[in-house]
């Protein structure tokens, strides 16, 4: 059965790009959110298997959202979408419960490899 993904990013551009990564794979995009608050809301509604989480977002950043999601569901699989120069934030996100991260610019095959490794 395909895994359901929640894409969290404040940029439509990035959401589209990530959506396309999962297109035609064993991952199915269940929903999108444009900020941390919306992410938590959508997470509660959709109970996705995987969350791709941007870090810098309005209303609530990705680290806070990850922390809350991982408190809601301790086993939640959250993968951070970081940009270069955000290493210390990624580390903070890992401490907050993120399982792995991808770095923009990313390649589809890399992203898929990373997320598949999280569902052995």
């Amino acid at each position: 059965m395909s895994k359901r993904v929640l894409i969290v990013d404040d940029s439509v551009f990035m959401r589209n790009m990530i959506r396309d990564v999962f297109n035609g794979t064993d991952f199915e995009v269940a929903g999108e959110a444009a900020n941390g608050v919306e992410a938590i809301e959508r997470f509660r509604q959709l109970s996705p298997d995987l969350v791709t989480m941007d870090i810098v977002m309005p209303h609530k950043n990705g680290i806070e959202a990850t922390r809350e999601i991982c408190t809601l569901r301790p086993g939640a699989v959250v993968v951070m979408c970081s940009a270069m120069g955000q290493e210390s934030l990624v580390m903070e996100a890992i401490n907050a419960g993120a399982k792995d991260f991808i770095t923009k610019p990313f390649r589809s095959d890399e992203v898929l490899k990373i997320v598949r490794a999280l569902f052995p």
């Binding site: 790009m17 950043n61 290493e87 990624v90 401490n95 770095t103 589809s108």
Partner: protein, 697 residues
């Protein structure tokens, strides 16, 4: 990855973020401690960086990355440095130009300018770091100032460290089972791929996963080094665990970007150095932040208030909307034809069906037009920056107030008045507002005031650009007009001050004593007026010497369709925009007076000059005229800037809402024709610009 299909989305979103970023920087220049603006600006430039990296637009990434870094410094300090505003606005221009190049399908390159910007940004960020560190130190206990000052600037990310990463958190979250007798200590050596994007973060993730499997008793590089981004590709750890060697191996090998992972039993310690090392590491970790200035005030990512309803919108390319509007225009034309047919057949069901279709098509038309509406902020948001730049260059102080930016108008109106409005605003700063000494001499406050205000009046929008500057002196205009022979002297004599001011809109008129690079050349007021009139708008100028100038642009909300009056002249049907017709009169032929070849009627207490539409169009009046001479004639009262004029037509048919079709390049050059349309009967008709035509009378 094929990124070409993301190009359009990239351009629109990056340009939007850049526009917002500029707005926030201008805001911060005024109020440097506006925390929300700092946060927004940071996020906006961060987004641009991320998107550009994904598209492989390296020259943008280089600049945006440095801009982000600089904004990050301000975020930590909760204070923007207005001293870098010029640098940032230069960056905005460069990025804007790059995005535009991409939009036009071009390739961007890292130019010398781009390199210079990157260098300047790096310097600015370094300077800010030192300043922030110094500020943090001076804010802390004065007695310890010396020691801190020596330490802090030397460590690039000292402030970042303390503010964003709580070490206690990491130790709390890692389930670290206490080593007991069943546990073994393994040495884990991991080498990352050389192309790994974020090696320190990757190494951090590896140690985090290891920590979930046991207790890390030794780590190289240390956690602090990793957090500071120091990592050279090889991570070594000793882990005390109950798991097997194989379990550890497969856990590490499954991690992305791991090239080699070797797990081997650790050499058995002679005494108990392992735990000593561990506690030493722990101490170092815990004490490092404490030594740095803990008073750093901002958390790494400040939270902004929750917005209850995020915007639900999609982006649509403008060309698609243009095509949709065209299609709806065609639909309305076809619909008009159908109605005409229905009327002729006099079949009630047919007419009813046509009426129903009429209602639906009009509804579609309204919806499509609503889709094309954009807020005036797309124009207005740039103005503070323009005013600031011009004012600075001309060494003037100008305060700008903008109101009504949320009023929505058709995209094509925004496009059409973009440069005219810019010109009017630049003019106001350049020639209107005086420099501070002159203002003081005139007993005004040294800072000039420029207000840009939009109001909606039914189906029009009124944009008012008003300054409190020196005003336009009619005597100066008069003498320039005389010197340049812009209007004949005898006409000049008759013009009052209000009319005289409008001469600035005549081609070739410029009173600027010197040519400046802002508004002394390029488009003049004549082009401004022409552009405004081309979309069915009008321009008004009110000026008082010493008090200032107000320029009003009266614009339609949309140019897609206009209401016209259909008239007949010399057997032909013509459309005249209703906006230019003040009234229509039926005048007995006997009341038309003739004086030396000119015709007049008495109207409203004065003499109204009368011209014949067929005659000014150069049509054959005689052959088309009705056999018997009519007893009265229709006059359209056409409003002009100077004085109204009566235009005689053979017949007034009806009013109609028509879709304006632009003329081709050949017909478009004919003065007095503003477009064409197709009537309900299927016949094409010219839309006349009567005020312009009447000059040929």
């Amino acid at each position: 990855m094929d990124t070409s299909k993301y190009r359009a989305l990239f351009v629109s979103e990056a340009a939007e973020n850049l526009r917002l970023f500029e707005k926030d920087i201008l805001e911060l220049e005024r109020s440097p401690t506006n925390r929300d603006a700092i946060d927004r600006a940071f996020r906006e430039i961060h987004s641009i960086k991320g998107m550009s990296a994904s598209m492989g637009f390296e020259p943008i990434v280089d600049i945006a990355h440095k801009m982000e870094d600089l904004m990050d410094q301000f975020r930590r300090a909760v204070r923007f440095d207005p001293g870098v505003a010029d640098l940032l606005t230069n960056c905005i221009d460069t990025l804007g130009a790059m995005i535009q190049t991409i939009e036009q399908g071009g390739k961007i390159e890292a130019t010398a300018v781009a390199h210079a910007l990157v260098d300047a940004l790096t310097q600015a960020a370094d300077l800010s770091r030192v300043r922030i560190a110094a500020a943090a130190v001076s804010a802390s206990d004065a007695t310890t100032t010396k020691e801190f000052r020596a330490e802090v600037p030397s460590h690039k990310d000292a402030v970042k460290e303390t503010s964003s990463l709580g070490v206690s958190e990491s130790s709390r979250q890692i389930p670290a089972p206490a080593p007991d007798d069943d546990s073994t200590t393994f040495r884990v050596e991991v080498r990352l791929r050389s192309g790994c994007a974020a090696p320190a973060a990757r190494a951090f993730l590896i140690q985090h996963r290891l920590a979930g499997l046991g207790e890390i008793t030794d780590l190289s590089p240390s956690l602090e080094s990793l957090r500071a981004g120091q990592f050279r590709g090889l991570l070594t750890a000793e882990i005390s665990t109950e798991r097997t060697q194989h379990e550890i191996e497969s856990a590490v090998r499954g991690i992305h970007d791991v090239e080699i992972a070797v797990v081997s039993p650790a050499p058995v310690p002679v005494t108990a150095p392992a735990s000593a090392t561990a506690s030493a590491t722990a101490t170092a970790t815990a004490s490092a932040p404490a030594a740095a200035p803990v008073s750093a005030p901002t958390p790494a990512l400040a939270q902004t208030p929750v917005s209850p309803t995020p915007d639900r919108s999609i982006r649509v390319r403008t060309e698609i909307l243009d095509r949709l509007l065209d299609a709806v225009g065609e639909l309305l034309i076809a619909q008009g034809r159908l109605r005409e047919l229905a009327r002729r057949t006099q079949s009630l069901p047919f007419e009813e069906a046509a009426d129903r279709l009429d209602v639906v098509s009009r509804d579609i038309n309204d919806q499509v037009r609503a889709l094309r509406m954009v807020p005036l902020s797309t124009l207005f948001d740039r103005l503070p920056r323009v005013v600031r730049d011009v004012a600075r260059r001309r060494e003037k102080q100008v305060e700008i107030q903008v109101a009504g930016a949320d009023i929505e108008v058709d995209r094509s109106i925004v496009d059409a008045i973009d440069s005219p409005l810019l010109h009017v605003v630049r003019n106001a700063v350049d020639h209107g507002v005086e420099a501070a000494p002159a203002r003081r001499a005139a007993q005004k406050s040294p800072e000039g005031c420029l207000s840009i205000d939009a109001h909606r009046l039914r189906d029009q929008v009124l944009i008012t650009v008003s300054d409190d500057g020196a005003g336009i002196d009619p005597n100066v205009i008069r003498s320039v007009a005389r010197a340049r022979g812009i209007v004949p002297d005898e006409r000049l004599e008759k013009m009052d001050d209000e009319e005289i001011i409008y001469l600035v809109c005549m081609p070739g008129f410029s009173t600027a004593a010197t040519v400046t690079d802002t508004s002394g050349r390029g488009v003049g007021m004549d082009i401004v007026r022409a552009s405004v009139e081309a979309i069915g708008g009008s321009l008004e100028i009110v000026s008082r010497v010493g008090l200032g100038t107000t320029i009003r642009l009266r614009l339609p909300l949309t140019v897609a369709t206009i209401r016209v009056l259909l008239v007949r002249a010399a057997g032909e049907t013509f459309a005249i925009p209703l906006g230019s017709v003040g009234a229509s009169l039926l005048v007995p032929v006997t009341e038309i007076e003739r004086n030396r070849g000119n015709a007049f009627v008495r109207h409203g207490g004065g003499l109204l000059p009368v011209v014949n539409l067929a005659r000014i169009l150069g049509l054959d009046v005689q052959s088309a005229a009705t056999p018997e001479t009519p007893a009265s004639t229709y006059l359209l009262l056409i409003e002009r800037e100077t004085a109204p004029i009566g235009v005689a037509v053979d017949e007034i048919l009806r009013q109609e809402e028509v879709v304006v079709k632009p003329l081709g390049s050949l017909l478009g050059r004919i003065d007095g024709l503003s477009g064409a349309t197709i009537l309900g009967t299927g016949r094409p008709t010219f839309i006349l610009d009567v005020p312009k035509l009447s000059r040929y009378a």
